[in-house]
Symmetry: C2
Subunit: 223 residues, 2 copies
């Protein structure tokens, strides 16, 4: 479990939450004295994930409600959660019952996704919303980057549209800083029109930092 804590860059005060997140019901059912398993935390983690993603999409985009809902559904879903679980090799740590193990449960997307949701709740119960947001956003941002989002009229698009009105003006983004450990990097980006800096942004991925820089620029331009 310490290895997993190192991977996710979070050390639990109460290891019980982590242990519960990693315990599948099939394992608990086989114990003589039943131990807690991850289904209740999964229930909570689902809502924590949803508010963190909703808050981010609401504040960082101009999307209309229908597009926000579609985009949220594409992130808050088994496919993303499974992907995130694989990124941190969560399957290796799940406590499974023998029957489940023998039928290949360890590799099942739903078992891994559910454990990841329970892990979200574990961080939330251990340290509250803000720390959980910090833990989760790098995963969310990577998934958003991979999304097909024709409808995502974001700040970069918006800025592009404003600038295009003057064809001689050229937009460019530059990475000016990378800081922090690998699992929790912060990127700083500036956006320029020709050679003039018109915005700075920070984020947990380059794309997110670019969004924030574009946002600053759009606001500077009074739009």
């Amino acid at each position: 479990m310490h290895e997993l804590e190192k991977t996710i860059g979070y050390e639990f005060k109460n290891e019980g939450y982590l242990r519960t997140a990693l315990t599948h019901s099939s394992y608990a059912n086989e114990m003589r004295s039943r131990c807690p398993y991850n289904e209740r935390q999964e229930f909570l983690g689902d809502a924590v994930l949803s508010i963190i993603v909703s808050d981010y999409l609401f504040k960082s985009s101009h999307l209309a409600e229908g597009d926000l809902t579609k985009l949220r559904a594409s992130i808050v879903c088994e496919k993303s959660l499974w992907g995130w679980a694989k990124e941190i090799h969560l399957g290796d740590y799940i406590l499974l019952g023998k029957g489940e193990e023998n039928s290949g449960g360890r590799e099942r997307p739903s078992i891994q996704a559910d454990a990841f949701e329970a892990l979200i709740a574990a961080v939330y119960l251990d340290s509250g919303m803000e720390r959980t947001r910090q833990f989760l956003m790098p995963f969310v941002l990577r998934s958003l980057e991979n999304e097909e989002k024709p409808a995502f009229k974001d700040y970069k698009t918006l800025l592009q549209e404003i600038v295009q009105k003057n064809p001689e003006e050229q937009l460019s983004y530059e990475l000016v800083e990378e800081r922090g450990p690998d699992h929790d990097k912060t990127f700083v980006v500036q956006v320029k029109i020709n050679s003039n800096v018109i915005g700075h942004g920070e984020g947990k991925s380059k794309k997110a930092a670019e969004q924030m820089a574009a946002k600053e620029a759009v606001e500077l331009m009074g739009e």
Copy 2:
């Protein structure tokens, strides 16, 4: 709008969030210069409501995941939201387009429920999660009291089951204090076995305070 702020016991720092929550798309569509309407805030409010209800149900009950999910669905739904909107006469404040007004839109459950969801987001955007929880929980608790919840094995039931092992012992709950203004009352309850006080609890409704008192008693008894 000030009347509504008085009713809900919350004064906005940024009145814009409240105004947007009260603006239906039909109204915005009729304006020459389009103004923001409540659909995006409704998207956010839905997730805020869900985490507040999930957090409460998770922490205040022993329910299994399936029952938690059922109970959450019975609270996070149009029927509850419509009921809450009616409690605060939200319909009276909604800005509607003429067509919608003439076809009776002001009384439509979905329009009122959506505005309430957007109002939740308005408080959240204006003051953050904790203040929103404070605003919302009295509504949630009243709805939970009205729920049929055969599956809700709560602390009171649990305590009853423990005490019943000794038939000569009698459980009773007493309200010992009510404080705060009408829209934001706090109740304090004690629970006794025969004449001995075994727990105290506070809550935003009598039933919630009884739950907390029973929780303290159950924990005192080492269960």
